[in-house]
Point group: C2
Chain length 398, copies 2
């Protein structure tokens, strides 16, 4: 086998780089916009393999993807790949929210490249994604959604930022790595009645999950402690201060993949949309479940959405678009939050009563003490060596 000589290799490399630089400067290497999706099977058609989903009998009307707007909150290990998948699928419009910068420490996940270090994540992502698919519209916001001003702006964009300005987005995807941002998305979506999907990856990098939340119909993030996939090792999903979480491109790629697959199934109406799908990488175990909302949820907008849902259900008795597999009913618990290093079956029973009926392999990220038992037990405090107040303060900082 004749290998190209070093000289030939270098000459080729110089030509490549010159072309790349020219494209980067002139934008000439970008592909032209395409007015409408064609099923034509040619090498130059970026949509032929997607439109083939129609011929294969999987999706009735693939072109409809162009009418949808999705907001991605958090453009990190999961969010960036999520945005890339949606871009390559030809989504109509993407709204990206993040306030972080690209760092070399992110290079163990897909998407960002070392030359982007120092750029804001949304700016770097927009640049790459526009090059990949100029047919997609992008709107990026380089801010933290949890501050008061930004939260209001976030709410406004979710409500009005669709392809047709003034219309709400079709779906919000939570790809954030902390509790406060998840709660902000939850609050916004409950108030707006906005359907969203949550995603998460454990700190030890070997488990993750996705969850579909339809306000009023399925449990919101305030209805119950967030559910995580047990890896049978000491772990917490929620990011703690001072801890450098491990991460793997594999786990993040799988979670982004099952998230966007669920988005496509939901938007294009094929297959079974999952309410909860977990991923335990150590055992290759993928638990599924679904959860009813908590009638005593601490979020008043969740309770309001539950009333609305009941009314809609009563008016339309035969609405069963997405089938619920299992039902987990929650009872009244107006709770404080307790962080424990590992949650035993007994602690779970003592803490949150009927929330227990979780499928094998799924557990909660933290437990809810019973009202009567008055906060934390001695043993648990001793275990964590911190007061509840300290823990609550930590949770707020997560």
């Amino acid at each position: 086998m004749a290998e190209p000589s070093r000289l030939e290799q270098l000459e080729r490399r110089v030509r490549e780089l010159e072309e790349e630089l020219a494209r980067e400067r002139g934008g000439g290497g970008r592909r032209a916009r395409i007015e409408s999706m064609s099923p034509e099977v040619t090498d130059s058609n970026p949509y032929s393999r997607l439109m083939a989903l129609k011929r294969m009998g999987i999706v009735k009307d693939y072109e409809k993807i162009r009418t949808f707007t999705v907001a991605v909150v958090g453009v990190g290990g999961v969010g960036s790949v999520t945005a890339e998948m949606l871009t390559r699928c030809g989504i109509g419009k993407l709204l990206l929210f993040d306030y972080d910068k690209v760092e070399l420490a992110n290079m163990n996940r897909l998407f960002f490249q070392p030359h982007q270090a120092g750029l804001s994540k949304v700016q770097a992502a927009e640049h790459t994604l526009r090059n990949i698919n100029p047919d997609v519209q992008f709107e990026v916001h380089n801010y933290n959604i949890t501050t008061l001003d930004n939260f209001e702006h976030f709410m406004d964009r979710i409500s009005n930022g669709a392809l047709e300005e003034g219309q709400p987005v079709d779906l919000v995807l939570s790809c954030v790595d902390n509790f406060e941002a998840r709660m902000a998305i939850n609050t916004a979506c409950n108030e707006l009645g906005q359907i969203w999907m949550e995603s998460g990856v454990s700190e030890n990098a070997v488990s993750g999950h996705i969850q579909l939340i339809i306000p009023g119909e399925s449990a919101c993030f305030a209805c119950a402690p967030p559910l995580v996939v047990a890896a049978n090792i000491d772990e917490k999903t929620l990011k703690r201060e001072g801890v450098c979480a491990a991460s793997l491109p594999t786990t993040m790629g799988v979670v982004a993949g099952i998230l966007v697959q669920n988005v496509l199934k939901y938007l294009l109406n094929f297959g079974t949309v999952s309410y909860y799908l977990g991923y335990n990488a150590m055992q290759d175990f993928f638990p599924t479940m679904s959860m009813k909302p908590n009638p005593q949820c601490s979020d008043q907008n969740c309770r309001k959405q539950q009333e609305n849902y009941k009314k809609r259900e009563a008016a339309q008795p035969k609405q069963e678009v997405i089938e619920q597999k299992e039902e987990i009913v929650h009872e009244d618990n107006d709770w404080g939050i307790e962080l424990v290093s590992e949650i035993s079956e007994d602690e779970l029973k003592a803490a949150s009563g009927p929330v227990l009926e979780l499928p094998e392999g799924i557990t909660v990220a933290y437990t809810i003490p019973n009202k009567e038992e008055n906060l934390v037990t001695e043993e648990t405090v001793a275990e964590s060596e911190e007061s509840l107040e300290e823990l609550m303060a930590k949770m707020r900082n997560m």
Copy 2:
């Protein structure tokens, strides 16, 4: 060898152009090489989140990743993402094999970008991957492994292409989209006793699988028809002539993710390595199983490896590194290959006898007629409207 001055000029020009391009893109350029992996938690350490796997108790010796060489055959929708994940994880050396060019029609999968259209896949991949992680060594081969000359060269590189030249690679990954290439990899690995993993995605884009093959210990690709995940719709995994397969970045991303996760677990010795893991995207169903080799396998090297394995087992009675969950025993069938458009339970029974004990959701890509029943039944021929000879010819072209 050309005159050094020209070489030096070109090398300088490449450096200049790379710097210029990096500036144009607004970032800091390529990162410098890193001599050894550090667990230090800083924004500039690309390995901190991987080394954290040690602190989290998941992996004992993460740095060992740098000693491994993996060959990826097929750098398409699954192979390119597989190579990127391994690169970002800091694998020692990657060998890439493909003979295809990047096309705009590939843009519905991750990794390649429109400006790379027209370049060979291995060349484009090497360029991107080197930028992402200059610590990884790359060796790329732009050829079809199934031609006689190339197959010999492929065998030679598998046997000698490790970090230390002359040593075999640690793992071969099949990320190809056709039957002939899979059989070529199978033949090579049986002859060399080379452990490999196979991956596949269905033509309708909504199912996929990975499979670990340890010659002599688990079923090879010639022991039994390749197993695929049933999507309960008309489908075939193996690419047919004249059919434009559908594909999705989601399914390909998930398959690449579970493949590389299995590679990491196998190489770094954590969790449970899966012998077979399927993905049914329509129902979010992930069947697992394992399969013993067929003592009457048509590949003589497989039969030889089975004998070797038995001898090793006898010498070491307590070797149970990877636990087998289920065992499926095959009986003697010296078979022709039959393509059918959908395989019913009855056809399966009639065709291949005891191969039947497949877990729910897994089926075979084609069936094996019983020797006695003498080839194809009338009904099946009518269904496919082609003779066995025609089908066999098609299979060879796949």
